[in-house]
Symmetry: C2
Subunit: 299 residues, 2 copies
């Protein structure tokens, strides 16, 4: 499978995710991979290691690579992605397909709704993989194996381009492609991703003892690994998805308050029932995931 044969792909932003995607796409044998990044050392490293074929760091360079690219992958923070599209709208190759990986979708979908050049096809996507690490130096396309990829198709997307993007995504190792709306995406992600990062952060914040790992048996490590957070990016994601995130935080706070009340009341029976229900629900969620993995690996 080489869906990128004879195609030129450009990455806008070559950080942890852009870098990992470029590494993965290389295996689909594109004609050429170009990249824009403001960090010239990153471009140098990506050229040396053969991840990209050409690197640019200036507006002129951007225009040059956009003009020849069949596929452009935006790997920027949400607001920068929107600004980039507005600034360089005229510079894309005719009928180019553009995709993004931003962690919130409403901002971008609504922001571009009546601004997109009619010949361009913007296919919004979100690879559900990552790492607490940062930057091109830590990029590794192994993180995509067996992960979810969310697509947010728009009525104007050309079916053949959607199919093409899905083929590329599967080639990267993702095994479950989910299609949904921007609004649902942002609600779900507020829970699975942003709320989890808020919790991990609050947990670390609430402990003063820097030697606390002397007393840990694994749980604290598992719950707080993602607290080693890219602060500017997550601040932007949290604020861009404020409404959905605050709603999820408050649901979580309610569940926690219920459990706390049962502990304070020493309501052992109530607590056991609640924990038993939670255990059951979590197992059902796990089984749902495993079933999808098995179904995909057979198909």
């Amino acid at each position: 499978m080489a869906p990128l044969k004879n195609k030129t792909v450009s990455f806008v932003g070559l950080g942890l995710m852009g870098g990992a995607l470029a590494m993965g796409l290389r295996k689909q044998e594109p004609d050429k991979i170009c990249a824009f990044d403001i960090n010239e050392e990153v471009l140098e490293e990506a050229l040396t290691t053969g991840v990209i074929d050409c690197g640019v760091s200036t507006p002129e360079g951007i225009r040059e690579i956009l003009g020849i690219s069949d596929l452009v992958v935006l790997c920027l923070y949400p607001r920068a992605a929107l600004a980039f599209m507005e600034d360089y709208m005229a510079d894309f190759k005719e009928k180019a397909v553009i995709t993004d990986i931003t962690g919130v979708k409403t901002l971008l979908v609504e922001g571009l709704a009546d601004k997109l050049r009619p010949d361009l096809d913007m296919i919004y996507g979100h690879p559900m993989a990552g790492s607490e690490k940062e930057g091109f130096g830590k990029a590794d396309d192994g993180i995509f194996k067996d992960r979810n990829y969310i697509l947010v198709p728009q009525p104007q997307n050309r079916p053949e381009n959607l199919t093409w993007i899905k083929e590329i995504v599967k080639g990267l190792g993702f095994n479950n492609i989910v299609e949904t709306t921007a609004k649902i995406h942002d609600q779900k992600i507020a829970f699975t991703s942003q709320l989890c990062h808020v919790i991990a952060g609050a947990l670390v914040d609430s402990e003063e003892d820097l030697h606390i790992t002397d007393y840990e048996g694994g749980s604290f490590g598992d719950l707080t690994r993602i607290a080693m957070i890219n602060a500017p990016m997550w601040s932007e994601l949290f604020i861009c998805n404020k409404e959905a995130l605050v709603e999820q935080i408050e649901k979580f706070e309610d569940s926690m308050a219920q459990m706390k009340a049962k502990i304070i009341a020493e309501d052992r029976k109530g607590l056991e029932e609640m924990l038993e229900n939670i255990r059951h629900k979590r197992i059902v969620m796990e089984v749902d995931r495993q079933n999808k993995l098995n179904r995909e690996s057979k198909s």
Copy 2:
């Protein structure tokens, strides 16, 4: 190193932890390993697989194995451990060493303070390892490698017995033995273990979508694996350590409320600062742990 040579060891309770400890202790070549469990199938399996040499399931059986045991390992829930000690105090071999693995310490230490037979040496311990799995069938002594082991020594403990227990613990694979008081143990564990389980549970409780894993990228899985909880055991642990746990829950709630307020206010600068501090603190905590691992592996 065979600190158990010519010794008889008995386990009271042969679940996930008792089973794993018995497997590990076998490698230290004791003369004999006995076990009490109410589940006869478990005893049968442990006998067949060679993890134990004799199994008993009745009070008479308990008295028999206690009478010949140099070391007794209590692997029961906290209240059951206390009740067991009270019920069988007269039946231990003279000068036996007893240890436990219960997740809260004040209850047991205070409960036994003026009840322990003077010739017995009770050395309170807590192996900081476990699994979301349950029962002897899932037991595996590999879970102890490079983990913490907390000891709560008492003034009356005999130094040679403390040294002996430490030697046995190191032989099991634990690489960091921490000594502290019952009160500090319970405070620290309220944070590293119980609070983490409350959070994981509340997170699962707060989500209705049973197909939510379609939208997850790893964080939700990492944060909620421990929500597949042994409900009776954790209910007891939460309630037995109520004061320390509620204090930790409230500290966590405060940190979360601060973060939520910054998100609502769209205070990007404040949020970035908070997340940057959290990131730094978590890295320091990680480095502290790694330094200990390195120090131990060199010694």
